[in-house]
């Protein structure tokens, strides 16, 4: 059986059209969608984490399990993101930067949890001890000093500036320099110990909170999202180009057939089969 040159070109044409069809469907589309979904999930969890650390600081959230769940969800989203990157070094570097920022966020959250637990504990103690020592019946000579310290501490819980901390330190020193009554010495020493801790912890904890809420991961996240969106747009543009090429090749295929006015009329399966329904 003799194979004509025209027949010999059919497999080549089929291969070429198949390749064009494959490139035209944007094979990277799902990867980009999954990566963006992981970024969205990360953003949502980060918002929830920030809400919960603020609630915990205010004493409205009294257990840390939600923070643990949110940190786990952030790690999970980061893992999904890593699963959906290409081998592109620029993309990998952006994710590494993002992961480092997320790790820093986790570290700050752990620091916050530890500090806040002590803070809430010492605040409760300070309230109990100061209430017991600041009786107004004149029997306790330390009562004015305790009241002054309590007022300064109240201010420090609202405003952790260095001026407010200095004011607490002065009241603390003033109280510590007084002689303690024999029967209440242990309470005064405990009050001073917890007040000293609060003096350090209140500004430190708010500093951790500020660092956490400043969220360096947001900048990294924005960079990464922009990069993925740009790559997605490039991938879509390439797919559009290949769809056009596929369309043009199909037209050429139809027009160049010598056997029919409609090109593929005699062997419709050769050309028609390669045309994707999406065109």
């Amino acid at each position: 059986m003799k194979v004509t040159p025209a027949a010999a070109t059919i497999p080549i044409l089929l291969l070429a059209l198949s390749w064009l069809a494959f490139r035209a469907v944007d094979p990277e589309a799902e990867r980009f969608d999954r990566a963006l979904k992981a970024l969205d999930r990360f953003t949502l969890m980060e918002i929830a984490l920030h809400r919960d650390v603020l609630s915990a600081r205010a004493g409205m959230l009294r257990n840390y399990d939600p923070l643990v769940r949110e940190l786990n969800a952030l790690r999970d989203a980061l893992g999904r993101l890593r699963d959906n990157v290409s081998g592109d070094p620029e993309e990998a570097a952006a994710i590494d930067g993002f992961a480092a920022a997320a790790a820093r966020q986790e570290e700050l959250t752990e620091k916050f949890k530890s500090d806040n637990a002590l803070l809430q504990n010492s605040l409760a103690y300070f309230r109990l001890l100061s209430a017991g020592l600041s009786t107004s019946d004149g029997s306790n000579p330390l009562a004015p000093g305790v009241s002054a310290l309590t007022a300064a501490m109240l201010q420090l819980t609202l405003d952790t500036s260095s001026a407010a901390a200095r004011d607490v330190a002065e009241r603390l020193n003033g109280l510590a320099s007084q002689s303690f009554p024999t029967n209440g010495a242990a309470s005064v020493r405990a009050l001073l110990a917890h007040a000293g801790l609060l003096h350090d912890l209140l500004p430190a904890t708010d500093g951790v909170l500020r660092a956490l809420l400043a969220a360096p991961s947001q900048a990294e996240l924005k960079t990464l999202r922009t990069m993925i969106l740009e790559r997605q747009a490039q991938s879509r543009a390439t797919a559009r180009k290949f769809r056009f090429l596929l369309y043009a090749a199909s037209q050429v295929c139809l027009g160049s057939s010598p056997t029919s006015d409609f090109g593929c009329a005699r062997e419709p399966s050769h050309c028609g089969a390669a045309l994707p329904s999406s065109i």
Binding site: Y64, D65, K113, A117, A193, H194
Partner: protein, 328 residues
Amino acid sequence: MFDASGALKPLIHSVPLVAGCLALLFVIAVTVGAAPKSQIPSSRSPAAQEPITPIPPAPDTDPLKLALGERLFADPRLSHDGTLTYSSCHDVHSNGADSKRLRTARDGSVMTFNIPTVFNAALSFRLNWEGNVRTLEDQSESSLENAANLATNANEVLKKLDADPEMVRQFSQAYGGPPDRTSLLDAIATFERSLLTPGSRFDRWLSGDFVALSPEEQEGYQLFKSLGCVSCHQGVNIGGNLFERQGIFHPLASPPPEIVRVPSLRNVATTPPYFHDGSAPTLEEAVRRMGNAQLDQTLSDAQIKAIVAFLDTLTGTYRGAPVTAASP
């Protein structure tokens, strides 16, 4: 003229739709009614307001993987010389740990840390006293490779398991292939995730059973909160979800490590001795020393008694039986 049949047509046509909606409502009502109520704390139960939440039911698990994990947990082939198993240190028939202050390592040295219980370990955010392990799989492998513990490795164990046709069959049934590192560690972790101890009297109280705690135990819980213990010991595992410095005001136990993962207080009455160095033989002493070191408080005997009474209510059940202390 008024055409009655025409006016009724839309109504007649809508009968199947209405019937469908009613059927759907019925299904929803039955489904909601059948939901396990114990898992949903009502707004009137204390769980809705308290910083501690009840232990959830164990997760649904493939029974084949669970059975395999349980078998591996007690299999001496998972140690280099075939003398130790995971259950040698973590006896799930008692308290999920042992009763020793500190175990002796294979080389005769004394281990650094007291053995923590494996019960409810799955509810902690990190594992070990130092909190340096994140997952049960990593913990299982770490124990396998620790020279002081099982002193082996996954490859050595897999060779032994591959030589046992029954074990290969169990792995094939559970994981669709012969034993490998991933399935080995997954099976053990799957079993460990099932080691939850719900049903403590305190959890029943949290879920709305107000007579589950005596007045003294409730007073102990109030003290536990007002004295500040709850700042660290909160959440579903009553701890186990944060790191904290030990010895804040006064020394507590052996100095290192300075930072520990706050231990869970679930089943605490059954897990003496206490602290990472096992230096507190009784719960009373542990509470007294914690008050001094962490809170700068000298607790009275009455306060200690009330707090211990509360801690006694945290003992849950495993497979329907109460968790008990390990034999000396």
